[in-house]
């Protein structure tokens, strides 16, 4: 698959070559020329803006979007033509790319260096190619790739590590392509990276905190010990 890439922000220039595209004036008529693309079975998911056309070539600008591969369709004056080998000429939006994570200490601001074990903190994930607002869902995870214990994603080996989904992830208004906001999950431990999955495309960053640190949950704090053994306990146990 050739897999030409598109920016999730849209506006990329593509040329579709072929034949029987109609007179150039059709590119300026509503319904004259319509170029769409999308996953197989939903090829009209995105509408490309037709800039100009000839009988043999159509120049378009892509729409904001996510995912792939997307196959292309051309409709001229109500007649539709599919690419003879759609998968060969399929295109995909760029996969998300992560640059860092910020933990908000409170709703009013300030950063924190660790997550509360009880969850509920706001986590901002920064990067690029996250896609437009209102498009495909966003999933984010805290990942611990080397937990050092015999359990994990692929069963008893622990290989693949631990993935804890973060909650209520959304693109941040005004900067949807570059920032995601999530609620932290309940958890414990240190050494977490972050992983984002958008429309089937994945990105992972092992050391996402400023300065190259991992995401850590707050360390446990012992505030009191009570019970019969809390004081003057016997050396024989029990």
């Amino acid at each position: 698959m050739a897999g030409k890439s598109m920016n999730t922000t849209g506006g990329d220039t593509f040329f579709i070559s072929g034949s029987q595209f109609g007179p150039s004036l059709y590119s300026g008529i509503a319904g004259g020329i319509r170029v769409t693309y999308g996953p197989v079975g939903a090829e009209d998911a995105y509408i490309a803006r037709v800039v100009r056309s000839t009988h043999e070539e159509i120049e378009v600008r892509t729409a904001p979007g996510t995912g792939g591969p997307h196959v292309w369709n051309v409709e001229v004056a109500g007649q539709t033509g599919e690419l003879s080998d759609p998968e060969l000429h399929a295109t995909s939006y760029l996969s998300p790319d992560l640059s860092g994570v910020t933990i908000m200490a409170s709703a009013v601001g300030g950063n924190s260096l660790s997550l509360p074990a009880s969850g509920g903190a706001t986590v901002l994930v920064d990067g690029s190619q996250f896609g437009p607002s209102g498009s495909s869902s966003v999933m984010a995870f805290l990942v611990l790739r080397s937990p050092g214990v015999a359990w994990g994603i692929d069963g008893s080996t622990g290989a693949g590590g631990i993935e804890i989904p973060m909650e209520s992830c959304v693109r941040v208004a005004g900067m949807p392509h570059t920032r995601i906001s999530c609620r932290s999950p309940i958890g414990a431990g240190t050494g977490y990276g972050v992983k984002v999955v958008i429309d089937g495309q994945m990105a992972e960053l092992a050391m996402p905190m400023a300065g190259g640190g991992t995401v850590d949950f707050e360390l446990p704090v012992v505030t009191a010990i009570s019970g019969s053994g809390a004081q003057d306990a016997g050396t024989s146990g029990g």
Binding site: F14, I16, G22, P23, Y26, N73, A77, Q79, H89
Partner: protein
Amino acid sequence: MLANATTDDPIITGATIGGQTGGVFEGGQLSDLRLDTAGGQVINFYGSNVLVRAEDPWAVVMARASDGAGVSSGLNYTVQCRYQGVNETQLYPDSEGGGESDEVGEDDTGDDGVAVADDEDDLNTTSIDTGRPMGTTVSYIACSTPEGAGTGWRWDIYVAEGRNASSNSPLVASYSPPRPARV
């Protein structure tokens, strides 16, 4: 005979374009033909009783039959066409008989050659009639297709005296659908 020719309605009996023969109405429809969107193809309309005076303006008009397929209405073309395959055997003999074939503007009184348009005694007519003994060779109207796209383009063929040639098949053609090859 000439009088009969003027009263017979012109009729289009078939059409071809390039190597396509779907427009021959025996077993086909004009809509079976696919025009190139770039235009410039020669489409041949076969007919009978096609009567024309050479000095009369005539035209084949191709117009969208409807607003179908979401394309704005108002698109139409006037296509200039010309007669093809016209030779002496296809022209009505001069009623006076004898003589050589006429040249345009020539007084052919007394001739027995073929009639050529604009002679007064020919009633300024030239007839192309494939169904008559003199017309043994198929004649046709050759038109260059305009650029366009979509389906439902109706051809209206006007011949002498503003008459609209009839057809036993709808003269509606379609352009080829788009054929994208690569992105």
